[in-house]
């Protein structure tokens, strides 16, 4: 055998190596899994019951409010994969009111497990650096402290965004959406109630943006209609609005305690628009002042008329 490298052998080897490397790194043939099943999830019938509670003990408050609308068992059945989607968008501590309170998130996760959930996943696609947001918001430390194998607070994994068509969309026809949010058996949306320059208020519909990929700033061009279109695809089983602290000015980031009102309120409903409508009133605004909610109501995605919402209050 001749072990010397002649020209022919060199060319052959070089071609074989570079072909195999480039195939590994840039696999050109799509044999993508079908993600149609991710989209066609049945949606629960809309109820118009809204639970509203007040109290300084947040775990107790959350439990009471969920009990008002039938308890966690009405939403989470044994064996379900549950996604809890809080607002972790900014690098602000809980007292600044820019993110969902960690005790609210933690209590919901506990309740989901108590109701028999197999797995509870908590995530948000943040605006500021993800690790800073997860830590500073107190949500990651609160979940890690539970040391539970069923409850996980995870960073977004860029590989999990899938292109989704929005057939009912009037302005937004398709977008990339996080797979875990689409595939969850029970999706619990947990926004924090706060002021937002363009949207007016950032509530449940706005919080849905946290499961989107891509350049989300582009959605601002027709934000109200885009959020409504999105709501045709992302349909929370349960919406829990954290109004324990309300950021009234300089939102959605805030950063000054003067702008935060401590209101110790939690709102929960299976109807995302009814929950948003009740939260709007906490700001002294009328539900028809928030464009996104109005657009979504025009698409029959929930109830906005206050006379059709039964408010169940505690205490």
């Amino acid at each position: 055998m001749d072990h010397n490298m002649d020209r022919r052998r060199f060319l052959r080897d070089a071609a074989a190596w570079s072909l195999s490397f480039s195939l590994i790194l840039h696999w050109p043939f799509p044999f993508r899994i079908d993600h149609a099943e991710a989209v066609g999830r049945p949606t629960p019938p809309f109820q118009t019951r809204v639970g509203i509670g007040k109290g300084a003990n947040y775990p107790q408050l959350v439990r009471r409010v969920i009990a008002l609308i039938g308890g966690m068992e009405a939403f989470v059945r044994p064996g379900m994969r549950v996604v809890i989607k809080p607002n972790i968008s900014f690098d602000r501590p809980p007292e600044m009111g820019a993110t969902t309170h960690p005790m609210v998130v933690r209590t919901l996760a506990e309740m989901a497990v108590e109701a028999g959930a197999d797995q509870v996943t908590i995530f948000d696609r943040t605006c500021n650096e993800a690790r800073r947001c997860y830590h500073t918001s107190g949500i990651l430390p609160a979940i890690e402290a539970m040391n539970s194998s069923t409850i996980r607070c995870e960073y977004i994994d860029g590989r999990k965004f899938v292109q989704v068509d929005i057939p009912e969309g009037r302005s937004l026809k398709n977008w990339t959406i996080y797979r875990d949010a689409l595939e969850a058996d029970c999706y619990i949306n947990v926004p924090v109630a706060k002021q937002h320059g363009l949207a007016g208020l950032s509530l449940g519909l706005k919080n849905n943006m946290g499961v989107l990929g891509g350049n989300r700033g582009r959605l601002h061009r027709k934000l109200d209609q885009n959020l409504a279109d999105l709501a045709t695809i992302i349909r929370p089983t349960l919406t829990v609005i954290d109004a324990t602290r309300m950021l009234l000015r300089n939102g959605p980031q805030g950063g000054r305690l003067e702008d935060v009102l401590i209101n110790n309120t939690v709102i929960a409903s299976a109807d995302p628009l009814a929950a948003d409508a009740c939260a709007t009133e906490l700001f002294g605004q009328s539900p028809d002042q928030v464009g996104a909610t109005v657009s979504a109501a025009a698409m029959n995605l929930g109830t906005l008329q206050m006379d059709r919402i039964s408010r169940i209050e505690w205490p």
Partner: protein, 529 residues
């Protein structure tokens, strides 16, 4: 059964090299946000024990820089035991040694004067430091290594691994993912960077580092023997070291093997050891068939003549070191800095910043927004590889202070978050010809949404304007409040326009150069912030 042999002396040297290399790599990967505002342990330790950087930065600063005091201990140890660091600890040396088997045998016919380059560089670096021409970062081995790893090798490695596991995740069968996903999770949690980074000078940084390795083709430890100014400095200290490798039979000439195997060419044809070149690798101890070599206290200075520059070359080098900085000083960029050259928060005034910065790229490694990038020629050629903020690629995170924490020489000052949030690194300007609410009558204000200053340096007014369809609509139009803007660049970063942003940050008003300020009085007004 054979008796258990005591390990050969080179075993301990190799073990030490491996341990230091592992420590180096662990510190390198750790140079990242660790879940707390304060870092515990970063790669800057390496630079703080580097006496070349210690001395040149102190010469630049005209005072002893306390941050790099530990480097004096290393220098002192070389006065006692020679260049042990080069042979036993230096990560660059270890990697060069490790690459040796890949290179194979080569003829060593490098002309002798080449090895004087290192002395020339050492003199130029120190004289340049004194007269305002910072050069140390381009030749210091740690700077070359950390920079190459940070800007090119580590990001490229991460990219390759990510793509491989993206492939298995998206296209692989479940049984494959059962094996690959746990492996990926381990890599992601412990080795890979949190986010894929990109760097403007990825290629130049890689080429410089690879050149050091390619030079191994000519000679073993070519860089260490001929170029490394740190090695030259430690070698000068080693001239006086009492503990050294001794040849008990100088002039033995039995085989000449010692002179051939020595990886730094420290042993001449007569078997005499030059302590200035010897890095205590102990190969001669192990391989001399007659066991002539040992390590111990030398009774008097070695017979081998000390090396260095001739008097003529020394004076010439010093003269050049004094003259060249003035050539650099007569370019306009000293008076009219590049408007888009944003320096990290806490950076000292430009001249001092350039002098102190060792171009190691640690600030860029630690920057969680991938906002800091190596400068090319925007700060002059001598500013190459210094950090600059490029907002369109990444913005400065409002509460983050990591770059100031890792800077080994204090070129970027370490500031508490409350102070850092008041440092103005530039100001944002809106380009109304591109900004959607102004130019097209389309709602947007993403910049306002993301502005992190608590009172919002970007606000908006509602205006009724006619859009492209001819309908009059009310849109919110953003504007910048100069006295509140700190130039973090998040607005430019998040501006959803494709390509160029409609809001741009320039260095105007940066607080380290108050003379370039816009409204000098307003941004130091304590009423704001």
């Amino acid at each position: 059964m054979a008796m258990r042999k005591t390990p050969p002396p080179t075993f301990w040297r190799r073990l030490s090299q491996v341990l230091f290399l592992v420590l180096f790599l662990v510190l390198f990967v750790q140079t990242d946000y660790q879940g707390k505002d304060e870092l515990s342990g970063a790669i800057n330790l390496l630079f703080r024990i580097d006496p070349l950087i210690g001395l040149s930065v102190s010469l630049t600063a005209r005072s002893f820089v306390v941050l790099i005091a530990p480097s004096m201990f290393l220098l002192l140890s070389c006065f006692l035991a020679g260049r042990w660091f080069c042979g036993w600890a230096c990560p660059m040396g270890t990697l060069l040694d490790a690459s040796n088997p890949l290179v194979g045998s080569r003829k060593d016919n490098i002309p002798r004067p080449i090895s004087k380059i290192r002395h020339g560089l050492l003199v130029i670096i120190f004289v340049g430091a004194l007269f305002g021409l910072p050069l140390v970062g381009y030749f210091d081995p740690f700077a070359i290594l950390v920079r190459g790893l940070t800007m090119s090798i580590y990001p490229a490695f991460s990219m390759a691994v990510e793509q491989l596991f993206t492939l298995t995740y998206q296209h692989g069968p479940p049984w494959l993912n059962f094996a690959t996903e746990p492996l990926y999770r381990i890599l992601r949690d412990h080795i890979l960077p949190f986010e894929q980074k990109i760097f403007t000078l990825a290629l130049p940084a890689a080429i410089i580092l690879l050149t050091v390795f390619l030079m191994e083709l000519f000679q073993r430890r070519f860089f260490c023997r001929n170029i490394c100014p740190l090695g030259a400095l430690l070698g000068m200290a080693a001239r006086l070291a009492p503990w050294r490798i001794r040849n008990r039979q100088p002039g033995c000439r039995a085989c000449g093997g010692c002179s051939e195997i020595c990886r730094t060419g420290a042993i001449d044809d007569l078997g005499r050891v030059s302590n200035e070149r010897c890095i205590l690798c102990l190969d001669c101890l192990q391989q001399c068939p007659n066991h002539h070599f040992d390590f111990g206290r030398a009774k008097r200075a070695s017979a081998a003549a000390s090396e260095g520059l001739s008097r003529r070359a020394l004076i010439g080098t010093i003269a050049a070191g004094i003259a060249v900085p003035f050539l650099f000083a007569v370019r306009p960029l000293r008076r009219h800095p590049e408007a888009r050259l944003l320096r990290p928060p806490g950076a000292r005034p430009e001249g001092e910043f350039l002098g102190r910065c060792v171009r190691c790229g640690e600030c860029m490694q630690v920057c969680i927004g991938n906002a800091l990038h190596p400068t090319f020629a925007e700060a002059g050629v001598e500013g190459m590889f210094t950090p600059r903020l490029i907002p369109r690629i990444g913005y400065c995170e409002y509460q983050c202070t990591l770059c100031g924490q890792v800077c080994p020489t204090g070129a970027i000052e370490r500031l508490p978050a409350s102070k850092k949030q008041k440092v103005v690194i530039g100001r944002a300007f809106i380009d109304r010809n591109r900004c959607l609410p102004y130019a097209k009558g389309i709602p947007c204000i993403v910049c306002e949404e993301h502005c992190p200053t608590p009172q919002k340096a970007i606000r908006f007014r509602s205006e009724k304007i006619e859009n492209e369809q001819g309908t009059v609509i009310e849109v919110k139009q953003p504007y910048v409040i100069d006295s509140l803007c700190i130039g973090c660049g998040i607005c430019e970063n998040k501006c959803p326009l494709p390509g160029k942003s409609a809001i741009l940050v320039t260095s105007a008003g940066e607080s380290r150069h108050t003379s370039f300020g816009l409204n000098e009085s307003s941004y130091i007004d304590p009423e704001y912030h």
